[in-house]
Each structure stands twice: as C-alpha cells, then as structure tokens.
C-alpha cells in the first residue's frame, strides 16, 4: 500500500511538473527578480514560478528582443518604453484584468511612458531614487551636485555608465528640473559639466557591487547612485547618505512589466503573474527584503513602518512629484546625448 501510494505520488508529481513546464510563461528580467517573494500568489496558483531569462541592461535586453528572443513579459525601465513601442515589441495592458490597478501610486500610473495614446503600456512595479551618495565622514563642506567637479574630489568620484542617469545628474546640476527645459543650450551646459566631472571620475560604475565596494573602502567618496547603494552600505555600517533634498537635486526611476507581442504563453498566465506582482503583499516583501519602493500604495501601509521610514518612503507621492523623473527627451536629443556621453567618457 505504502509503495503504491508512493509511486502514485511520484506519477502525479511528474505529471504536475510536466504540465507546469508545458504552458509556462517566460519572463525576461534583471537578475535577482526571480525572487519568488515578489509573486507568491502566482506560485501558489500554478505550482511553480515562470521561466526566467536575464539581461544585464535595458539596451542589451532590447537588442535581444529585437533579434528574435521570445518572452511573454519583460521588465524595462520607463525610459525604454518609447523605443519598445517604436520597435513594435509590446502590446497594451488590459487594466481591467489587473486587480490592483486602482491602488497603484497615481504618479507612476500616469507617467507618460506608462499611459499614453489612451493605452497603458507598462505595469509599474519598482521605483526608487538616483541621487548623490557620499561618505559623510570623508566629504566636508556644502553638499551640492557641483561639488563632484571640485578638484578636491579628484579621483574620488564615480558616475553611472548609463547615459540617462549621467545626463539626469548633469541636468539637475545645471538647474534643469524638468526634461522639457532641456534646450540645446542647457544640453551644452550639461555636457560641459560632465566633462568637468570626468576629470574627477575614477570609474564609471556599471555594477552596483563594484561601486558599493569602492565606497566602502574609501576609494570613492561621492557618486551618483541608486538608493540601493545607500541601503547596502548602511547595512554594512558604512557612514553614507543619499541626498534626498530637492534643492540639491534628486532623480527618480521607475521600472515595470510590459506585455511582449511575441510571447508564446497564455494571456491568462501573464495576467496572473502581473496581478501577483502588483499585489500589496509583493510590495511589502520588496520594501522589507530589498529596500526598494513598490508601485502599490497599499504596500506602504502593510509593510514594517520602521523600514518604510528608514528608507524614506513615508510620503512616496510627495517625493516623486518634484524629483526629475525618468528620461524624457526627444529621440534625436537622446541619440545626441548618447554620442556625447561616449566622447566625454573617452576624454573628448
């Protein structure tokens, strides 16, 4: 009897595993986002997580999708949505099928990248700040963005190796708080400023671990970095601070999930996954375990209040409203910025 039930169980188990892998959806994501804590509800319903495939940066992911990689969902940041739409890679989201759509932070739901032309293109998931992170024990005097060009910080500065972030930083430094104010003159001014900072740059960081280690060792004193860097270093007892002062200048980013046209999985599964991700429980986990901000407003109410305060998420809406959001320049200027950034990095 025992043996019988065991073999029956095995057979069932195999069947279940087979069934799960057959109709599985594929999610194209940043590494680490296959953390089941984000989509518990999906796993409970389907018995297993979806298939994951990873990219290291937005543009690499974009190119892989363009060259024929098939997935059902992808996780770009807002800046890439225009390009994905132009390349006809994504289809609109049916918000009626999203249980938590009404609970998402309005600022995120109404981002022009998210909602435009009467359609919704991305389900916002995570967001956060990009700002000036500095060692409070090593940097003295007035803290502002211009200080990164100060010869006193020669060789002690790091900027992100991402054109959108670097120009976001430069825009704020030259007084542009809204991308619509980015005129050709301001672009020139921002480029000149980046050139001045380049003299102080030790390296342009492309992976957060590298930057965190360099700040921890004192190799880097100040950097333009994600809030994740501040968190990681605070966990490590390194005296750092991310300046969230709107007077000084701080940027925000938002990423989310898009529904790819070429996916082979069922829409049913896709929306189950999106519902699991946008649930407040998922947000609670993202805030508590990762220290990232979630798109669902309800998640801040159910998450550990101490964590919410410590990470600066007490008033998400108020905060986002005034910070420089995303990367919103016309395609032509974006191409110009990219070219200019490569020149600046090469010392031209």
């Amino acid at each position: 009897m025992k043996i019988k039930s065991l073999s029956a169980g095995l057979a069932l188990g195999t069947l279940a595993a087979f069934g799960a892998s057959a109709g599985q959806i594929t999610v194209f994501d940043w590494s680490g986002y296959d953390d089941p804590g984000f989509f518990n509800a999906y796993v409970e319903k389907h018995g297993s997580a979806p298939d994951f495939s990873f990219f290291a940066d937005d543009h690499e992911g974009f190119n892989k999708l363009r060259s024929g990689f098939k997935a059902d969902l992808a996780h770009p940041c807002s800046g890439l949505i225009g390009k994905m739409r132009a390349a006809d890679l994504i289809k609109p989201i049916d918000t009626a099928r999203l249980d938590a759509w009404g609970e998402l932070l309005p600022t995120l739901a109404q981002l022009p990248e998210v909602s435009s032309d009467g359609q919704v293109w991305m389900v916002p998931f995570d967001w956060g700040n990009t700002g000036l992170v500095y060692r409070t024990d090593l940097v003295e005097g007035d803290i502002d963005l211009k200080m990164l060009a100060d010869p006193a910080l020669a060789g002690k500065v790091s900027l992100p190796d991402v054109v959108e972030d670097a120009y976001g930083f430069a825009a704020l430094a030259v007084g542009v708080n809204d991308w619509s104010e980015m005129t050709d003159e301001k672009f020139q001014e921002a480029s000149d400023f980046l050139r001045a900072v380049h003299k102080n740059v030790r390296f342009y960081w492309s992976d957060q671990g590298q930057l965190d280690a360099a700040i921890k060792s004192g190799e880097i004193h100040a950097a333009w970095a994600w809030n994740a860097t501040e968190l990681a270093l605070i966990f490590d007892n390194v005296p750092v601070k991310l300046v969230r002062d709107l007077e000084v200048g701080v940027a925000s980013w938002a990423c989310g999930y898009v529904h790819l046209k070429d996916g082979e999985g069922s829409d049913e599964d896709v929306y189950d996954f999106l519902n699991a991700l946008s649930d407040a429980e998922s947000g609670k986990y993202l805030i508590e375990a990762w220290g990232y901000a979630h798109a669902n407003a309800g998640s801040y109410r159910i998450a550990d209040q101490e964590a919410v305060r410590a990470y600066g998420y007490s008033d998400p809406e108020g905060f986002m409203a005034e910070s420089l959001f995303g990367f919103r320049v016309p395609n032509e200027m974006a191409a110009k910025m990219l070219k200019e950034f490569e020149r600046i990095k090469a010392g031209f």
Binding site: V201, A346, G347
Partner: protein
Amino acid sequence: MTLDKNARLGLLLATPTTLYVLLLIAAPVGMTIAYSFWTQEFVDVTRDFTWANYREVFTDPLYRTLIFRSVRIAAMVTLLTVLLAYPVAYHIALNVKKNKAMWLFLVTIPFWTSYLLRVFSWKLILAQNGVVNSALLWLGVIDTPIDTLLYNSEAVVVTLAHAWAPFAILPIFVSLEKIDRSYLEAAKDLGEGPVRSFLRVTLPLSIPGIIGASMIIFIPTVGDYVTPALVGGSDGAMVANMIQVQFGKANNWPLGAALALSAVVCVTGAACLLVLCLKLIERSLK
C-alpha cells in the same frame, strides 16, 4: 568529372570544415560588411548604400584615438609577453632534460581558471585596498595607497600579458625545440661564446616561433573587450568597448560594423608591419 580515390577522400575530409567556415565565419562577416554601408534610423535600419559610417570612423578623432590606443596596448602586451615567455620557453626546450611534458603541463596552469576570473583577480591585486597596496603599506614603503595602479591602460597591459603568457611560451618552445643541436655545437667549435652563439644561431632560428607567438597575442588582444571594461577605467577603454556600445546601448549597428571592419583593417596592417620588423631583425642577425 571523375575524381580519383584520394581526391574524393580529400573532398570528404575538407567539406565539413568548409561548410562550417562558410556558415559561421563567411556569412557573419558578409553581414557585417553589408551593415557597415547601411544607416540606423532610431530602431530601424535603412538599406541604402552609404559611406557615411566609414567617413565618421575615419574623421572623428574619438575613434582614431581608440583604434591607435588599442594597437598600442596590444603591441605593448605582445612585447612584454614575448620578453617574459622567451626565457621560460628557452629553459624548457634547451635545459630541461627530464620530465619536459610536466614542465609544459605546468605552463598551462593559468588556463585552469577562467579568463574572466583571472581578470577579476587582477582587479583585486591592483585595487586601492588590494594585495599590492596592502603589502607596500605593511612594509612601510608608502603611507597612502597608490591609486594609479588600476583603471588605466597600464593595468590593461599587465592583465593581458598575464592572461596570454602560455600562448607565447608554447610556439616559442616548439621553434627552439626544433633547432638542430649540432648547429650549437658547431658554433661552439668555431669559437663562439654563449652570448654570440645565442644571438647568431638560437635567436634567428627561433624567430618563426616569436612571429607565431606575436600574432597569436597581438591579434586577439587588439580586440579584447572584457579586460579594458573591467580594469581599464576611462583612459584604458579600447576599440572593442566602443564597438560593443554601438551594438548595445547606442543601438547603431551600421556604425558598429564599420568600426569593427576598420579595426580589422588596422590590425591587419599593424600585424603585417610587426611581421616585417621581425623578419628584418631575423635578416640582420644572420
């Protein structure tokens, strides 16, 4: 047309390789050439013939600097590697009598670790709180860590020279091993000292090995991408990094293709020049 047995066998043996080469080398190179004459327009590629990409590559000082820098770095790596490898190869070929195979086996030890890990370990060695700085601080040679060890073109040279050393040792070893020992005895009999017999017999006869080693190192290092990306910082960036940017972030495949092909042409030129120099040295020694 009828083929005899040997010709048929030859055809049979060569066909898989030929197909493989056509499919995986000729076709991609053909695509790259085609792309280099097209134009990127935001997310689409316009297939009208244009020289614009090449014009940009050759007129913009940015690309010129990167190509020259790549050639310079690769030449330095080649020189350093050959200089360091030659004594090792010489020792194994001419002095080691027993267990030669074991010596050669030891030379391959660096390959037991992945290339990427070796590059990362150089990062740890040269870092501000890395092995070199910690040792010097401990010895009291310096008071503050030297921060110019990493993130420059010198770091790229050191890392590449280490990674490519076995590639230089083996071809030089083979050419030294092939030298007819009776030549060395003859030189000795005719009254040549050890230095002169090295310069007039051993070195000239090992030049083919040096040429082989130089080509094996020079050509791939010009196009190395990982090492400059990890230890190069901004002034150690090489042309391959820019090509990667064009195919990735910049999403300008045509410019990337033109850049890649221009780099190939420059590398071919530089490699020919290198061979010519070595041939001239060979002739002047004989």
